[in-house]
């Protein structure tokens, strides 16, 4: 049984090399031809080799719809790169900053105002508290996501995985 498998494997390697060298019209040696007449496995292997390229799509993939979408995206990107949207971006950044930092800081400084008469000190303490809380929140969230495997920091992990994928013995 094992001898048969070894022989088949050898013939399959010849078929593969012939296919790679000459395509489907590869000439077969008489030994290989004899083997193919009696071996179903190798015959199927040979037929499978010839049909491998049929797995690539034959239907039309490019369409006017994709063309239009791409042209729109190209035009959109060109516009976005212009300076027209700059004031809007600054406004959005200021709004975001005030929502996340200035307003909570002001509210927190009111709380600290109970312990100190200096509004500068109260606001400074409020900002410090926000920074610490925000930093802690970010660290905890990052650790939590990393533990669940949703993010990874080390590029080498990615490339190692890619290299492993390439090197795996395809069985």
């Amino acid at each position: 049984m094992n001898d048969q498998k070894t022989a088949c494997r050898k013939h399959q390697q010849h078929l593969l090399e012939g296919f790679l060298a000459e395509g489907e019209d590869a000439k077969l040696s008489s030994e290989l031809s004899d083997h193919l007449r009696t071996c179903d496995v190798c015959r199927r292997y040979r037929e499978a080799l010839a049909s491998v390229t049929s797995g690539f799509p034959e239907d039309t993939l490019y369409s006017p719809f994709i063309r239009e979408k791409t042209l729109r995206r190209m035009t959109g990107r060109a516009k976005a790169e212009g300076s027209e949207s700059l004031p809007l971006i600054i406004l959005a950044a200021l709004l975001s900053l005030s929502i996340s930092f200035v307003i909570p800081g002001w509210l927190l400084s009111k709380v600290y105002g109970y312990w100190t008469s200096s509004s500068l000190l109260a606001y400074g303490a409020a900002c410090g508290t926000l920074l610490i809380m925000g930093g802690l929140g970010t660290v905890i969230t990052t650790i939590s996501l990393a533990e669940r495997g949703y993010i990874c920091f080390n590029d080498s992990q990615v490339f190692t995985a890619a290299a492993r994928a390439e090197e795996i013995q395809i069985q």
Binding site: L16, V41, Y45, A48, V52, L61, I66, M74, Y150, A165
Partner: protein
Amino acid sequence: MAIGPATDEMQLILELKQGKNPAAGALMDHYGESLMRYLVSILGTREAAEDAFQESWVKVMEKIGSFRGDMNFGPWLFRIARNTAYDSLRMRRRWWPLDRRSQNDPERCVQDVADPVDFGSQVVARQSVRELLGTLPPEFREVLFLRFIQDRSYQEISDFCHVPLGTIKSRLKRGLDHLARNLAEERR
């Protein structure tokens, strides 16, 4: 608008450098189909290929100023598309590690990555080849596509992919062997 001789292409590239959209459309019509097929071969799905296709053309628009007239537009475009596709794969692997796991797990690949372009009316045999193609790493699919669909020589593939000739041959051999053995097994 069809592109005729190379001079027409140069004219379109000049117009593209001036930001004229019709020139982009004409070049897209000329290279669109082969570029989409190439991207599907790397990314495995039509949706991902469409996204990379759009992103590639945006990059073409951004970089066209640096395009020199002494080289061909086609290889330059395909190189941009290739980088875009592999960037997209890296992003997917980084942010969605499940994809990365599926790369090494043929069973998952068949469910998640395979079925590159399912129009719902494919022949069963072709579908199984397609599913098996989906189980291969993208680098293997790409090489198979360049060799058997685009009919490029080993040396051309090696130059294009910036990968040694031996690696190209090894990828082809291993990829084909994997597909043929599994197909033969399925047809038993």
